[in-house]
């Protein structure tokens, strides 16, 4: 296919040809083209089908406002639906297909919807699919789902990469058209740090699309000079292909930079970067968007916005048609005609809806005070009909309905635009996001000279705010072109449907009908008709729709009101919001110091929060995890086992008031903890419920080392800082986390001491007499390496926890195994750890779940009444201390071969299971290799008074109903002889 509609001029590189495919057809374009301009150059008017009626549609605009020309870009997993051909930068071997049709684009089987249109008007979903009820699930919904949506997803994982980033500036200038360039120059010259962002791949905005002169040179040349000056400034960052999509609190703006979308492949670099821009001030120079006029069949391919037709001719060297007709309600439309004529493009007619226009154009039929009422043509316009009935042969209709300032970002913090009668458009209201100013046509300043001046003036005001001295340099000069407008919204006089919102197939009739049916608020109109929804958010349609609603209700536009805008200004891919945080990189991993050792010794890992912990260590011949876990428990209980417990939170506490502070934090007493001793502590929340537990060791008079549970390490630290700074601000106490600093290992089992004696340096006596249960101390091991030793036990065995600086952790794991060889020491993972704590009856996360009290956990008497500590007062509440409250007990199946389930509820024998007869629930279960049967922990009403009672563990979810006996939670060594051995 040749570039039949290519004409002279434009900002394209004709020396290079780019080959691309549309619906399988090979075409050519040039660098500087968009997909839309290249399609038009190749004479391709029909590019897609409309959403509801599957009407043939073509390219309507030349920017991000495009409602029609949505295409599927690329192929395979990289396929992206609903890309706007008008902003897709052409690259070599680009491949695109049209959307929303079954069968070929030129003959869409779903076009039948258009014939059914009398039944498919506004609200048809709500009316049609109500009855019969049974039809919804089987018929209506599948049919609707099948027809819904525009493009198609590849249904494959996104192969592209996305990134985030953070930028800082004094002034963010949004949009690099005349006003934006002028603003950036003024701000940049003052020395302020400026970011100038523009969604286009080339900066200049309408300067690139117009033939107007600036400072005595073509606007395009002036833009190039301005950009050259800006790029020479170190304090200015120019960001092309960057859409500022949202104005957020406190000067934070969201921006999407398309890094590689204009390239055939992204080359392992991120395709797009989502920037968070921290600005002190912002100048919005987002320009304006042209809108259409509604008349019969004004949606055919070839019907376009007049400013876009001009832009295609001037910027891209493309004539969208060979016999163009212009219909306008303002002076701007005339420039489309004059620019086309200057390019040698035939203009069939110019129709101005205004009366009293005396202007003429050489060789062009000019009609004033009139308009078009209908068009004809198959898959594209070929005739237009005037009100008078006269038919005009034309292949492109350029419609100029006036320009709407792009006020979107002014609304992102609930600002409301106001109506300006002068330009028949909404302009920014007075309630702008703090720090934002608006300049140029976004502000309703519609002519070139005024835009340049306003850009500079607003930027100068802005930088003076920030204490910079404004440059005295004047703004560039340009004539103010004629820009009069007389609002004109739609032509009557024809029965043909007149389209308002091309993307959602909303017609003038739909709007009137919705008003008749009582949807009178503009917000209701939007929801009922879908006006202004989907990818374009009604950029070319909203004002037109509003005007027609106003007319229907006999009100003015300001009385009718307007919808406001939310972010994003244009669609942002979800992948960009995710950034790097996907797959393996979804969140960081924390590794324990002995991770490498565990990895090379058969460990299976489990994620616990961000930590990766060894779950068990499989040995050859073990058939499943239970084999490994049972063995690890047995070997530990019979001899000695080693477990990396580094993940427990560690907090270093120092200060003259450290002991008194701990007394506030823990519900039990700590002030009198002796030097060289460890104590178990229970923390409550202020509401009196149990929060966290752990041990705290007194290393010296004013120095304590606390451990918390792995899960609560971060929040315990946070809450302790709260207590320190906000509740007791003049206690001398200081906290710092040392969780990662110390590799800590539990060494448990009857041979634990003997094993440790193999590594502890001479001079450190760790015998039972010198270092009894709950002792702690600083020692050295392996020839002088500093270590901390704590005689504490989670397993119920004779046990220690030994900590060394984390750098020695991986080596120590190997050394402990070596030193334990003679005892057949085993490493054990979190599963064995869990089994042993259940066998011992120690509470953990399942029991400390935020709904339980110290009393329920059997620790009611620990809560000191002799002092003030967090939660102690409310723990005394009657509601938490009632007769018959739940108590933690052990449970074992009457039939020892049965495995128990956590989550089962307890029912007294003979009762019917119900909420009323519920007696509590099973919190934790494990198979106890030590006992040879399943054991459980659970809360039972008055549980400690019901020892020996058999109750039902009722579990309808898993279809189980097991008789269990209530026993002590301490299945192993209830007297605690082992741990004191």
């Amino acid at each position: 296919m040749t570039q039949s509609n290519r004409i002279d001029g434009g900002l394209i590189d004709r020396d290079r040809a780019l080959s691309f495919r549309f619906n399988g057809k090979t075409m050519t374009g040039h660098p500087g083209d968009t997909l839309a301009s290249a399609l038009l150059a190749n004479g391709q008017r029909l590019v897609g089908r409309s959403f509801k009626y599957h009407r043939p549609r073509g390219i309507f605009s030349c920017g991000s406002e495009e409602p029609n020309a949505l295409v599927q870009l690329r192929t395979g997993a990289a396929q992206e639906p609903n890309t706007r051909a008008t902003v897709v930068e052409l690259y070599d071997q680009l491949s695109a297909t049209s959307q929303n049709h079954r069968g070929p684009l030129a003959f869409d089987f779903m076009g039948v919807n258009d014939l059914l249109s009398p039944f498919l008007s506004a609200g048809f979903y709500y009316k049609t699919f109500m009855w019969p009820k049974a039809f919804w699930e089987k018929i209506y919904e599948p049919v609707i789902r099948n027809s819904a949506g525009l493009g198609k997803l590849s249904m494959k994982g996104d192969v592209d990469r996305y990134d985030h980033g953070f930028l800082h500036c004094d002034v963010l200038v949004i949009g690099a058209g005349p006003a934006g360039l002028s603003a950036a120059l003024a701000a940049g010259r003052s020395g302020a740090r400026v970011i100038l962002a523009d969604e286009d791949f080339r900066m200049g905005g309408r300067l690139l699309a117009e033939t107007l002169e600036v400072d005595g040179m073509p606007g395009v040349d002036w833009a190039a000079e301005a950009l050259a000056e800006l790029s020479s400034m170190d304090n200015v960052r120019l960001m092309t292909r960057t859409t500022v999509y949202g104005a957020f609190d406190h000067g934070v703006y969201g921006a999407l930079e398309r890094m590689t979308d204009h390239l055939p492949t992204s080359g392992n670099k991120p395709r797009q970067v989502l920037w968070r821009v921290y600005s002190k001030r912002a100048v919005l120079c987002a320009g304006a968007t042209e809108r259409s006029i509604a008349f019969g069949n004004n949606d055919r391919p070839g019907v376009m916005l007049a400013g876009a037709v001009r832009a295609y001719a001037n910027r891209y060297g493309v004539a969208p048609g060979k016999r163009v007709t212009v219909m306008t309600n303002n002076d701007d439309g005339w420039r489309t005609a004059t620019d086309l004529l200057a390019k040698g493009v035939k203009v069939a007619a110019l129709i101005d809806t205004r009366t009293g226009i005396t202007r003429t154009l050489d060789g062009v039929r000019v009609e004033t005070g009139s308009g078009l009422i209908d068009t004809k043509g198959h898959n594209g316009i070929s005739w237009a009909t005037l009100q008078s009935g006269i038919k005009i042969e034309t292949d492109c209709l350029a419609v100029a309905g006036g320009w709407s300032p792009n006020v979107h970002l002014t609304c992102h913090q609930r600002g409301r635009p106001t109506w300006s009668e002068d330009i028949a458009a909404f302009v920014p209201g007075s309630d702008l996001p703090p720090g934002m100013r608006v300049a140029g046509s976004a502000n309703g300043t519609m002519t070139m000279g005024a835009c340049l001046t306003e850009g500079r003036d607003v930027a100068n005001e802005t930088i003076r705010d920030l204490g910079f001295t404004a440059s005295r340099k004047a703004a560039a000069k340009a004539e103010d072109e004629a820009s009069d407008i007389t609002a004109f919204w739609h032509m009557g006089g024809s029965k043909a449907r007149a389209w308002v919102d091309l993307q959602n197939d909303v017609t003038t009739k739909d709007i009137k009908q919705s008003h008749t049916e009582g949807f009178r608020s503009v917000e209701h109109l939007k929801r009922y008709t879908t006006l202004g929804m989907a990818t374009d958010q009604g950029k070319t349609a909203n004002v037109l729709g509003l005007a027609i609603l106003a007319e229907a209700s006999g009100k003015t536009i300001p009385e009718t009101g307007t919808t406001i805008f939310r972010p994003p200004y244009t669609p942002v891919p979800l992948g960009a919001f995710a950034g790097r945080s996907r797959g393996q990189d979804f969140k960081p991993f924390r590794l324990t110091p002995s991770h490498d050792w565990a990895k090379s010794n058969g460990a299976t890992f489990i994620e616990t929060g961000m930590w990766l912990r060894a779950q068990w260590f499989a040995r050859p011949g073990e058939k499943g995890w239970r084999d490994s876990v049972d063995r690890e428990v047995t070997m530990t209980r019979n001899s000695v086992g080693i477990c990396d417990v580094t993940t427990l939170g560690k907090i270093d506490i120092q200060g003259r008031d450290a002991a008194a502070f701990l007394n506030k934090i823990y519900c039990n007493g700590f002030a009198k903890l002796a030097l060289g001793k460890v104590r178990y502590g229970l923390m409550l929340r202020e509401d009196g419920l149990a929060y966290d537990d752990g041990t705290t060791a007194r290393m010296s008079e004013n120095h304590f080392v606390m451990t918390t549970t792995t899960a609560n390490a971060v929040t315990v630290f946070r809450n302790m800082e709260f207590a320190r700074q906000c509740l007791w601000p003049d206690m001398d106490v200081h906290l710092i986390s040392t969780t990662d600093g110390w590799a800590q290992f539990a060494v448990a089992g009857p041979n634990a001491r003997k094993l440790l004696q193999n590594v502890v340096d001479e001079g450190h006596d760790i015998s039972n007499e010198a270092f009894p249960f709950m002792a702690c101390g600083e020692i050295t091991i392996c020839g002088g390496i500093p270590a901390r030793l704590f005689r504490i036990s989670f397993s119920g065995e004779l046990a220690y926890e030994i900590a060394v600086p984390a750098r020695y952790g991986n080596a120590l794991m190997g050394v402990l195994m070596e030193a334990g060889k003679e005892f057949d020491a085993t490493p054990y993972g979190t599963e064995a750890l869990g089994v042993m704590r259940i066998e011992k009856g120690h509470a953990a996360g399942n029991e400390l779940n935020g709904q339980t009290t110290a009393a329920m956990l059997g620790m009611g008497r620990m809560v000191s009444k002799a002092k003030d500590s967090i939660g102690s007062k409310l723990s005394e509440r009657p509601g938490l201390n009632e007769e018959g409250d739940l108590r933690l007990v052990g449970l074992r199946p009457v039939d020892r071969s049965v495995l128990l389930n956590a989550g089962a509820h307890f029912i007294t024998k003979g009762d019917t299971p119900s909420m009323e007869t519920d007696q509590g629930w099973m919190t934790s279960v494990a198979y106890s290799p030590s006992l040879g049967h399943s054991v459980g922990l659970g809360f039972v009403k008055s549980g400690t008074d019901r020892m020996g009672e058999v109750i039902r563990a009722y579990d309808p979810l898993r279809g189980k109903d097991t008789d269990v006996e209530i026993v002590s939670a301490h299945f192993i060594d209830p007297e605690g002889e082992r741990l004191r051995a």
Binding site: F166, H168, D732, D740, V804, P805, R807, N810, E818
Partner: protein, 190 residues
């Protein structure tokens, strides 16, 4: 008793790699300590720090460095600084406690953190992908220090030169942190 030797390993195993003009390496020879000011003990600590190292207590966000470059104090909060100094003692907090004689509360943080040094021109382009702070020299000059968050991980960043930064990240997640920095460097390479 058999002889056992504990061989230390650093969180990033001595990572050192060139990315074009930018070098990223793990620093393994530095001790890191936190030092808290006792309530009401500002004057005493200031004097002790002055006599120990000849240094001022840095304000939050600033750092002070000895002339020989060996001791570097980082102001991180109202009553907390970090000390960077050569790791030349098995218990780095012991000599600091001794030098300050109870005027401040020192805690060894050497193994809590992995330390990276990143040097080379234009590295701000890489760091701006992960660091929310403004690293422009006017906003974050040489000697500036801050604790912040990068890629969901807490981090401390210190500008040690015009084109040089020190990054501290939790040692347990050092691998993920390094991956984040490397990704930034790879993705912003020219």
């Amino acid at each position: 008793m058999p002889d056992f030797t504990l061989t230390p390993t650093s969180p990033l195993k001595g990572f050192d790699k060139q990315f074009g003009d930018i070098r990223l390496r793990e620093v393994t020879d530095q001790a890191i300590l936190s030092l808290a000011t006792p309530l009401g003990g500002e004057t005493a600590l200031k004097a002790a720090v002055g006599s120990a190292w000849g240094l001022e207590m840095p304000a939050p966000g600033r750092s002070s460095r000895a002339d020989d470059g060996k001791v570097h104090l980082l102001g991180l909060g109202a009553d907390q600084i970090f000390i960077l100094k050569p790791h030349d003692h098995l218990q780095p907090d012991a000599p600091v406690r001794e030098a300050l004689n109870g005027a401040g509360y020192a805690t060894d943080q050497s193994d809590v953190w992995a330390m990276l040094e990143i040097t080379g021109p234009g590295l701000r382009r890489a760091l701006e992908r992960i660091c929310p702070l403004d690293l422009h020299p006017d906003a974050f000059p040489v000697g500036a220090v801050a604790r912040t968050m990068m890629e969901h991980m807490g981090a401390i960043i210190l500008r040690s030169g015009e084109d040089a930064f020190i990054l501290l990240a939790a040692s347990s997640s050092a691998g993920s942190f390094l991956h984040a920095v490397e990704t930034s460097l790879n993705w912003t390479a020219p």
